[in-house]
């Protein structure tokens, strides 16, 4: 029984069957990659997991509880964080403030007026946020606006903001899309470090095979809305069906 269990999920958009009978099981504390050609339904699947889309049929269970019918912010409170394809950060706020908000959210729950008074609690939160930024090598930029950072740093910050909540499952949607090689490698190292140091499950959607094969412990190949195969990276590399459908000769 994995931490995330997707059973018989179907999703249609008009005449298009985006997802057909998807079954997926993600083991706790593993790194699980979902790959597939464009239009395979990877993003649709991810959106079904976080409450942005509701599947037509099937069930999505996280840690024994159904996520269907819950609002996105409630799903986050269950312990699922998401990193988006284009970094979603608070661009108008400083880097430090960006880091403080998830810490506030995790400590105080969904809504608090956070008193007009500056509290001891807040000093504590600033200290914790600065420590997180130190770990991400972003401490020097803490008083700059998040919008003015490089793409790679925005991505680091977004991942850091997700981690600040101590999620049990981290979902990443093409975390290295549009990145320079150096930034990609930095991101891979960061994710490796995270999965080594923490009790965290990572599910990753990725186009870049270099990223997939350096991180994933298990890989699910999706094609035309249905899972083709699920196996370890070594087996996937040699799998004839996968070669045919996706990897081509380059693998």
């Amino acid at each position: 029984m994995g931490i995330l269990e997707v059973k018989n999920v179907n999703k249609r958009f008009g005449g298009l069957q985006a997802l057909g009978d998807v079954n997926l099981s993600v083991e706790e504390n593993s790194v699980h990659a979902i790959i597939g050609p464009n239009g395979a339904g990877k993003s649709t699947l991810l959106n079904c997991l976080i409450g942005k889309l509701i599947p037509d049929t099937g069930s999505v269970m996280f840690d024994g509880q159904s996520v269907l019918g819950r609002k996105p912010y409630e799903i986050n409170q269950m312990g699922i964080s998401r990193v988006f394809q284009t970094p979603e950060i608070f661009s108008d706020l400083t880097v430090l403030e960006n880091m403080m908000i998830p810490i506030f959210a995790t400590r105080d729950g969904a809504f608090r007026m956070h008193a007009i008074e500056k509290t001891e609690n807040e000093k504590d939160i600033i200290a914790q946020a600065e420590e997180m930024l130190e770990n991400l090598n972003l401490a020097e930029q803490r008083h700059t606006k998040a919008a003015s950072m490089s793409r790679g740093n925005k991505r680091r910050l977004e991942i850091g903001m997700c981690l600040a909540q101590n999620p049990r499952l981290l979902l990443l949607d093409e975390p290295t899309a549009g990145m320079a090689r150096a930034d990609t490698n930095n991101t891979i190292d960061l994710l490796k470090q995270i999965s080594d140091e923490r009790d965290i499950t990572i599910a990753i959607i990725e186009h870049d095979m270099h990223v997939v094969f350096s991180l994933a412990e298990r890989i699910t190949v999706l094609a035309q809305g249905t899972p083709l195969v699920e196996d370890t990276p070594d087996k996937i590399k040699g799998h004839p069906k996968v070669r045919e459908a996706y990897l081509g000769e380059s693998a």
């Binding site: 609002k71 912010y73 964080s81 988006f84 950060i89 706020l93 403080m100 908000i101 995790t106 956070h114």
Partner: protein, 405 residues
């Protein structure tokens, strides 16, 4: 000081000084000089500066900080006014209970409208608030003013009559709004050479409210709660996927700004115990949007500047009529005088809206940050002039970077 950092304390002290010394600052010209018509230091106008300053500060908390553009804030102003006049009618002419009840009722009313309107965001939210405000206007103007149930007194406007209960009104108290016996109309005129300065009780009541309102706004801007409001404005998606529900934050901001509007409405009734439905009309809602954008949305002092600017135009420029223009240009030959007056006339007097509209366009196009950005640019410019050498070096470096320019 008072939990503010250095910069905010300085800003706060500036606002205190401006409001306290407004009777001097707004009357720079001697009473009998030709320029005296540009003096703004008379009680009515000073009160309006302070009241609309409060209105705009509150609006800025919703629009500038949280990013929700409401087109219906005049409704809360109107509710505040009606509530205050009802307090005068039922209880007493003392303005304190009137203002308190105005703020509370406006808060409750904005809770209701905000709860419904905030189900949508962006333009749909704006349209919903506009619809609610126009509904309130229609209610106040006709529906709630029938012989069986006369809450608003329709077209005439709600006012205090001699046969109203006023259960706490005693003998010896003025028969007009007052603060513990001091009439709101009380005015001390101080003559100093050729200058006259007016010190008006009503104005200073408004000024105290403005100062308190401004202080609260600074605290909200700098608090973690204010940070959350900025986060709502900045990225709703990330807010949601951080496990935060943005709606309660937006609703809190909406109610707070509604209460500011109620305070402004209550003060309007306190300086002149009359409440009419036209106060709720959409033009009044639009005016506060203009004030906030003109001054600088999202800045602390911008809305106050914007409110002062627009009210000054409305009251001073609109008074320049054809006769005044002719007297200014009487030194010119007759034909030329007529031409010049004909050219300028459309922009003053009743045409002051035209001038304001053009200024608004110029500000939005060239100073997107409003008057505050203009001030900052002037500040930077003078700073550079003083430090000419480094400025030259900077320009040189810029030229090297962009040789095409």
């Amino acid at each position: 000081m008072l939990g503010l950092n250095k910069k905010d304390t300085a800003l706060f002290l500036i606002v205190i000084a401006l409001t306290v010394f407004a009777p001097f600052l707004l009357n720079p010209f001697p009473t009998n000089s030709a320029m005296a018509q540009f003096n703004a230091g008379y009680p009515d106008l000073m009160q309006r500066f302070a009241i609309f300053g409060i209105f705009a500060i509150g609006f800025n908390i919703l629009f500038g900080l949280t990013g929700y553009l409401s087109f219906g804030h005049a409704a809360f102003l109107g509710v505040g006014s009606y509530a205050a006049v009802w307090m005068f009618k039922l209880l007493t002419y003392n303005v304190i209970p009137a203002i308190v009840v105005a703020v509370i009722l406006a808060g409750l009313f904005s809770l209701l409208i905000g709860y419904i309107s905030l189900r949508r965001s962006g333009i749909y939210f704006s349209i919903l608030t506009l619809a609610f405000a126009q509904m309130s206007f229609a209610l106040a103007y006709s529906v709630l003013s029938n012989p069986k149930f006369n809450l608003t007194n329709g077209e005439t406007g709600l006012q205090v009559y001699a046969d109203d209960p006023q259960i706490l009104h005693g003998p010896g108290l003025p028969n007009l709004p007052h603060v513990f016996g001091w009439s709101m109309r009380g005015n001390n005129q101080m003559s100093f050479g050729a200058w006259d300065f007016n010190f008006n009780t009503g104005y200073y009541v408004c000024a105290v409210c403005l100062i308190l309102g401004f202080y609260l706004a600074i605290r909200i801007f700098r608090s973690p709660f204010g940070m959350m409001l900025r986060a709502v404005k900045s990225n709703n998606t990330r807010m949601t996927y951080t496990g935060l529900n943005a709606r309660p934050y937006a609703l809190a901001a909406f109610v707070i700004s509604g209460m500011y509007a109620g305070l402004a409405g209550g003060l309007m009734a306190a300086v002149d115990p009359l409440a009419g439905a036209e106060r709720m009309q959409w033009t009044a809602s639009g005016e506060v949007v203009l004030m906030t954008i003109l001054g600088g949305a999202g800045t602390l002092i911008g809305p106050i500047l914007g409110a002062g600017f627009i009210k000054y135009f409305e009251n001073i420029f609109s008074k320049i009529n054809e006769a005044v223009l002719h007297s200014w240009f009487s030194f010119l030959p007759d034909g030329l005088e007529d031409v010049i007056v004909a050219l300028i006339y459309p922009f003053v007097g009743k045409g002051w809206h035209l001038t304001l509209g053009m200024l608004f366009m110029l500000v939005v196009i060239f100073l997107p940050g409003g008057l505050v950005e203009g001030g900052q640019r002037i500040g930077r410019f003078t700073f550079r002039r003083r430090d000419a050498k480094s400025a030259d070096a900077e320009r040189e470096a810029a030229n090297q970077r962009n040789p095409a320019e």
